[in-house]
Symmetry: C2
Subunit: 263 residues, 2 copies
């Protein structure tokens, strides 16, 4: 039986390219690393790369294209970033103006594509270690919160860190730290364990992005740096044009999750 879970990344991207798959990519080509996309004009690229370098927890860079090129040579040398994501969002001067399934006409010689690690990788690692991930169990979006933790500024890019939250059983907290520490290039270890107020979160049941999830008796809220951070920060700079993936509609790389483990 045909299953999108077991196809390889090249096949997955071909389906996406032909608009045969325009849904979220969770569960597609299982075991292969998926990535956030940010496309910016060259004029902002150095400052944005610097911002990512200074804030590796929320902004783990997996690949950056040469200016004008749509090929992510490190993570998928036969891919095309203009067509290989199921859905894109176009921001003009910091405002979302459009969603579409390709950006061929927008990509000119000034464009630089950034692929950033996403939490799917460490969530698989958690589940493989017997640690359930609540928003997946509840078929919701992960809850995300603005914090009082400032990112390190780089040129025009600055702002607070955004975190995602997963409730973890008290007995699993240490293992969750160990498991996610293995993957520094996809957000790595938690930013905070326990008290949401300590990092400026007033109401854990009202996330700033995504959906609330159930926190059971005996569970601890654990917070990881979130890939929404660089998008939120870039939007504040109000670039003439910026393109990102639509939430959940990620880029599928040729690399396996385990290849990002440092040990």
């Amino acid at each position: 039986m045909f299953s999108v879970a077991s196809i390889n990344p090249t096949e997955a991207r071909r389906m996406i390219r032909n608009n045969e798959w325009i849904k979220p990519t969770a569960g597609v080509a299982n075991g292969y690393t998926q990535a956030n996309l940010v496309v910016l004009p060259k004029e902002l690229a150095f400052e944005f790369l610097l911002f990512c370098q200074r804030n590796p927890r929320p902004c783990p860079v997996l690949d950056v294209t040469e200016p004008g090129s749509w090929v992510p040579n490190l993570v998928a040398p036969n891919a095309d970033l203009r067509v290989d994501l199921p859905k894109y969002r176009i921001y003009r001067n910091g405002v979302l103006t459009e969603e579409r399934t390709d950006i061929i006409d927008l990509w000119n010689e000034e464009m630089v594509g950034f692929l950033l690690g996403c939490s799917f990788t460490f969530e698989h690692a958690l589940m493989n270690n017997g640690i359930p991930v609540r928003h997946i169990e509840e078929s919701r979006n992960v809850p995300m919160y603005k914090t009082n933790i400032p990112c390190v500024k780089a040129g025009r890019f600055e702002g607070p860190m955004v975190v995602s939250m997963r409730p973890i059983r008290r007995k699993d907290v240490v293992r969750a730290v160990q498991v996610t520490s293995r993957f520094p290039s996809v957000h790595g270890a938690p930013i905070h364990i326990g008290d949401p107020e300590q990092i400026g979160i007033k109401n854990i049941h009202q996330p700033d992005f995504g959906d609330p999830v159930t926190i059971h008796e005996g569970e601890v809220p654990v917070f990881w740096a979130c890939g929404v951070t660089p998008q939120a920060v870039a939007m504040e700079v109000k670039p003439e044009i910026m393109v990102t993936h639509a939430p959940g509609h990620m880029f599928i790389t040729d690399l396996r999750d385990e290849q990002f483990g440092v040990l």
Copy 2:
């Protein structure tokens, strides 16, 4: 008794700034991370940062200054990269033209300073684990070799990876991999274990840079990516001006070696 080993980084940099210390920095402010310096004009900074991002094993970026600023805010916010290294090398159009103890007159608003992790950090970790480091025992420079492993190109920057070699007792090889894997931001795990020819090294007793060291019976040559790589690659681009630290005359940061351990 006064000992340079036990002074703190601020004191060490003050001595260096006042030309009271113009020798190599090995053994100064023990336990604090030292870094390689590369200074390039802004025009080349994005491509160089991209090169480092694509080649994190030989080019682990610890900090990058804003263009024109000499302050490495992440690793030593009260330091001055123009005076806080004991000795600098000036390259013009790819040729070494000068060595000096400060670069105040060369630093203009176009200059960007890059600090890259150095092997001192993982060498301390090896020794703390009872694994001797031969070139330190023999008071020599570490042997370094050009390999047949190409770096990933970025703009004008390309070239082979340079590696350093440390002979390790057969029984310690696994532990050496574990110990250095903890420190991905200072070169991390070895690139190669065993046969030098596999990575294009013809004669292990004739390094391309540094000094040869003794390899005893029962020892295995183990190779790590080396921070000389980005300098060698940058020199090939022949920038109008490039400044680096003089070999062994490193920048001393405020951060402790252990803070770079991922687990």
